[in-house]
């Protein structure tokens, strides 16, 4: 079905992007075979580092003519194997397309190339008194990757997810054609939203080469509250009360003492408080001290009335760093605490978070494995990690599959979905198929075929 990359292809690719940015064989770092989680692995036949939209277009024309599979990769921080070239072929790396092209203060937009890192965009926006609200934990992810997975992050409770901030996308289609979907406008009822099809398509429909993103004015004041609870049950049960209070925090995160301790040991830094079993971490932002103080006090009082032991005020840069840096390191910290792990990124309705977390505790006891978790209690998106620890290959495989089956079944039962923000990629395909059933998957496959009739762009992912 696909052709192998031959010497003539290499020469053609070198002519497009330059000799130094076409790598083959041992010149390719083994890390390019996998993403952040590492379970799915395959080396590309050739690694191509692109610099411009025109280069991407030329590479795709070649790949299309020659029927060579192409997988796009940003920073490689994905967690479901979406950027792994499972059919070999060309791995097209976008990290050199890393320029912030324009800031439009009149229309509150910024135009970026896909290789700009989330942390670079966040800092750029802040320097210009703006906020780019999507705030996934992995700050070294590229914006292209964030758009491809419709990444959410910690501020989704108030500000929504990446999709809500994409105004326009310039993409290269699998046949090499360059197209712009959407525009730098606030409203758009102009036919099917092709831009929205690209967002979250995990590199299967087109290659994002430029994005116009919406910014909001930078809130002048921001305070976090770290609220300790005697146990996770009381902590999680507090969340619906907070949401009902009509105060809208930007973030509501839950964390257990165990996870915090992993993070302490990983970072070599103490967390400000580890005396209690469970914590809720909230952030409030706004433009005046009085407004933010009012919101914070309302929620602090509410939490104290329903079982919180205190509410610690996180109000300076130093304090925010001491708390949020630990939160940002949870994934890496859990990873460092075990031999291998796999993750489940389900999203359930907000009022079912407690039920799901309790269920993971039951599974941990039943299968005798560690299943630490943390996540976005405010939007129902949970990050649950199954740790291999000392299990042998056979037991690990069996246990993991059994736990995944049970967890995804439970999420469906609770009205949830397979992935809140990490995507489907390769690893979660079967669970998606199982949940959605024939028709939705067939519709997705139909869309894929219209965009990519030769199925050369990131084959074997999401719905195929």
């Amino acid at each position: 079905m696909y052709n192998k990359v031959c010497a003539a292809d290499i020469a053609a690719l070198q002519a497009i992007v330059g000799q130094a940015d076409v790598l083959t064989g041992e010149a390719i770092n083994p890390d390019y075979a996998h993403d952040e989680l590492g379970g799915i692995s395959r080396m590309p036949e050739v690694l191509v580092r692109v610099h411009t939209t025109e280069e991407v277009s030329a590479v795709m024309k070649l790949a299309y003519d020659r029927s060579i599979p192409v997988t796009v990769r940003g920073s490689g921080t994905g967690l479901v194997g979406a950027a792994v070239p499972i059919h070999g072929g060309i791995l097209l790396e976008t990290t050199r397309m890393n320029k912030i092209l324009a800031l439009d203060s009149n229309n509150l937009t910024v135009t970026v190339q896909p290789g700009v890192l989330l942390m670079e965009l966040a800092a750029f926006a802040e320097e210009n008194d703006f906020l780019y609200p999507p705030d996934p934990g992995e700050k070294s992810a590229t914006i292209g990757g964030n758009i491809s997975t419709n990444a959410g992050g910690m501020r989704a409770v108030k500000y929504g997810v990446t999709r809500d901030y994409v105004r326009a996308l310039t993409v290269v289609l699998p046949n090499g054609e360059i197209q712009t979907f959407g525009a730098a406008v606030a409203k758009n009822s102009s036919g099917y939203s092709l831009k929205d099809l690209i967002i979250g398509s995990e590199g299967t429909l087109a290659i994002i080469c430029e994005a116009v993103l919406k910014l909001v004015p930078l809130p002048k004041v921001s305070i976090s509250l770290l609220v300790p609870f005697p146990d996770m049950k009381t902590a999680i049960e507090a969340v619906p009360h907070i949401i009902r209070s009509k105060v809208t925090p930007t973030a509501i995160e839950y964390m257990s003492r165990d996870t915090i301790l992993f993070s302490e040991s990983y970072l070599g830094k103490r967390f400000p408080d580890t005396k209690n079993d469970a914590y809720i971490l909230l952030t409030f932002d706004g433009n005046t001290d009085a407004q933010v103080e009012q919101d914070m006090s309302t929620v602090a009082e509410l939490c104290l009335s329903i079982g919180a032991l205190d509410a610690y005020i996180v109000d300076t840069e130093e304090r925010k760093k001491s708390v949020w840096s630990a939160r940002g390191a949870f994934l890496e910290a859990i990873k460092a605490s075990t031999t291998e792990m796999d993750e489940c990124d389900v999203v359930v309705p907000g009022n079912q978070v407690d039920t799901f977390i309790k269920f993971t505790h039951e599974l941990a006891a039943e299968f005798n494995v560690r299943i630490p978790s943390f996540g976005h209690a405010g939007d129902g998106n949970l990050h649950v990690y199954i740790c291999r620890d000392e299990l042998n290959d056979e037991d690990w495989e069996r246990t993991l599959n059994a736990i995944f089956d049970r967890m995804y079944e439970k999420s469906v039962e609770l009205g949830g979905l397979v992935s809140g923000e990490h995507g489907i990629g390769y690893a979660k395909k079967e669970f998606l198929k199982r949940q959605y059933g024939e028709t939705p998957i067939a519709l997705m496959q139909g869309i894929k075929q219209v965009f990519d009739p030769k199925c050369i762009l990131n084959p074997g992912k999401v719905c195929f």
């Binding site: 509250l225 103490r270 006090s297 509410a311 005020i313 130093e318």
Partner: protein, 262 residues
């Protein structure tokens, strides 16, 4: 053990503008906070009191609104605090500040241990702690990394001497200045903040001090005067190193060597 922690109210942001005409920091409208270095001192003091028993009080010098930082120390677990405030204290340099603090400490009571932060983020001199100790006639240890033990009236410490780390002991009473980034300071409690009363913060003025010579305080008691304050020049450069891992590592090493960072 009776412990006193000295704290200072500083601008809440590091990006405070300097008035180009007067050379004075534009503080108005800028939120303030406890000097971050002092938080390590507060944490050390509270941990020591938990471990060995005792009380922790706090002290600051500043305008009446410096009460806010004293209340914040109370929210972190400090028993009570005092603000030294008087127009006569205004314009104090390092020497006059240290003298004023020493007068205030003498008035506040007998403390076994006085803890200061290493330096402030708005003054950066790192001299006040040692000078307070001198005025009070107390032994002083700077750049303390940890307080390891308390035995027979002596405090056992680990301190940094730039390229060396020393273990030493010092007899109580004494003054120690804590190094930065040595612990994770606890967070202020909303629950305590709700119960704050006026009793948590006392005020002392010039009239309360033993030395009633106004020439020893504020601008007239200062040995130095600030001629000009200006923000440091910021140079931001991006340098890309190309090549394979080995070439990049070698180039990075050479770069750091050339910049005298290694």
């Amino acid at each position: 053990m009776k412990i006193l922690v000295c704290v200072k109210q500083v601008p809440g942001s590091n990006n405070v503008e300097v008035d180009p005409v007067t050379g004075v920091l534009k503080r108005s409208g800028i939120p303030s906070k406890i000097n971050p270095y002092d938080l390590y001192g507060i944490e050390t003091a509270l941990s020591l009191a938990e471990r060995f028993g005792g009380t922790v009080d706090s002290l600051t010098m500043g305008p009446p609104q410096a009460k806010a930082v004293i209340q914040e120390t109370v929210c972190m677990g400090v028993r009570k605090g005092t603000v030294l405030t008087d127009r006569k204290f205004a314009g104090a340099d390092v020497l006059a500040t240290a003298y004023t603090l020493s007068q205030g400490i003498a008035k506040c009571g007998d403390y076994d241990l006085i803890i200061c932060g290493k330096q402030t983020t708005d003054g950066d001199t790192a001299q006040v702690g040692a000078e307070v100790a001198e005025y009070l006639g107390l032994p002083n240890v700077s750049n303390v990394l940890s307080v390891d033990d308390l035995r027979d009236g002596r405090l056992y410490l680990t301190a940094s001497l730039d390229e060396k780390v020393v273990s030493l002991s010092v007899s109580l009473p004494c003054l120690i200045s804590m190094d930065g980034d040595i612990n994770t300071p606890r967070l202020p409690s909303y629950k305590i903040r709700k119960t704050l009363t006026d009793d948590s913060c006392a005020f002392l003025t010039f009239a309360d001090f033993a030395d009633q010579n106004p020439d020893h305080y504020g601008l007239s008691g200062s040995a130095t005067q600030v001629e000009r304050i200006f923000p440091p020049e910021k140079v931001s450069q991006k340098h890309s190193i190309e090549g394979d891992a080995e070439t990049q590592a070698q180039a990075l090493y050479q770069l750091l060597l050339d910049k005298k960072m290694l």
